[in-house]
Symmetry: C2
Subunit: 142 residues, 2 copies
DNA sequence: ATATATTAGTTGACGGGTCAATGATTATCA
DNA sequence: TGATAATCATTGACCCGTCAACTAATATAT
């Protein structure tokens, strides 16, 4: 036991500050929130998905998905319809506009992430990924 | 240019997932939100601070501070009074209860962070801090 | 065949953050 | 001195997430 509280605390603070910094900046740069872009990404890779399938691929709850999709429907990036084979489920798909926007957003994201990782060489990136994965695992133990 | 989009994206996703994981777990384990504990921490190190000073030390805005303090006042961990020398400012201080609780919360936090960093030796922690700092700097460029 | 359970989605209330507008107080300066 | 500006705190409206309650539809089991 070597008494490194300050160092541990520093990491904790940094992780929080980082998250707090990243999301708003991303939204400002890319013109869309990370979550919505992830939704678009999922939708981009299929023709049509049920809302529940979509939701399970994200780490947000069903209510949040409903509200995002409602907003995205109003802004014309997606469409929704009932599944005739099962009236509980609603099927979601990207509009053509949605596909176009998704491509532009992705480009913005690529730029954003490139800037975020400025100065990190390949090996450092690998180390970082490894460490973040380990932190994630440690959290899951709680 | 070596085309490492997936790796870059992975880091971006991991950072977000991590934040989303840490906060709720922390709150469940420690019994208080990270932000409120940081408020308590600031207050712990002084007799009395003006709300504005307190706010500037945190990375949240004045409205959020007002609401947190209001809640903490009701739950008896802090008290507030007007500064007689300047009626715009309100002075905040921890109650005795608040100091006691703060100590307990800190212990929970210590445990939490220790678990979070399980498996990280001293050198790795240093590397991690360095990397997180660099990410933070990169964000600030945007 | 019907009662019961499960599933999908929506809504409302809440916590935690933002921004913008407001009120009250104090500073500034012409 | 008296108008104007700056400062501190609060409030309201919004975004984004949670959970819990509810509806509607389908599955299950007796």
């Amino acid at each position: 036991m070597t008494e490194h509280y300050p160092e541990e605390d520093r990491i904790f603070e940094l992780l929080q500050a980082l998250n707090k910094g990243i999301c708003p900046k991303f939204e400002r740069c890319a013109g869309i929130s990370p979550t919505r872009l992830r939704l678009l990404n999922e939708l981009f890779q299929v023709d049509e998905v049920s809302q529940i399938t979509l939701q399970k691929g994200m780490d947000i709850d069903a209510a949040a998905v409903t509200r995002h999709l409602k907003g995205m429907e109003e802004s014309g990036t997606i469409t929704r319809r009932n599944n005739p084979a099962d009236n509980r489920v609603t099927l979601v798909s990207l509009t053509d506009q949605g596909r176009e926007r998704m491509i532009q957003y992705s480009e913005e994201k690529r730029r954003f992430v490139a800037t975020l990782l400025t100065g990190f060489n390949g090996q450092e990136r690998t180390v970082l990924i490894d460490m973040l994965n380990r932190l994630q695992s440690n959290i899951n133990l709680l």
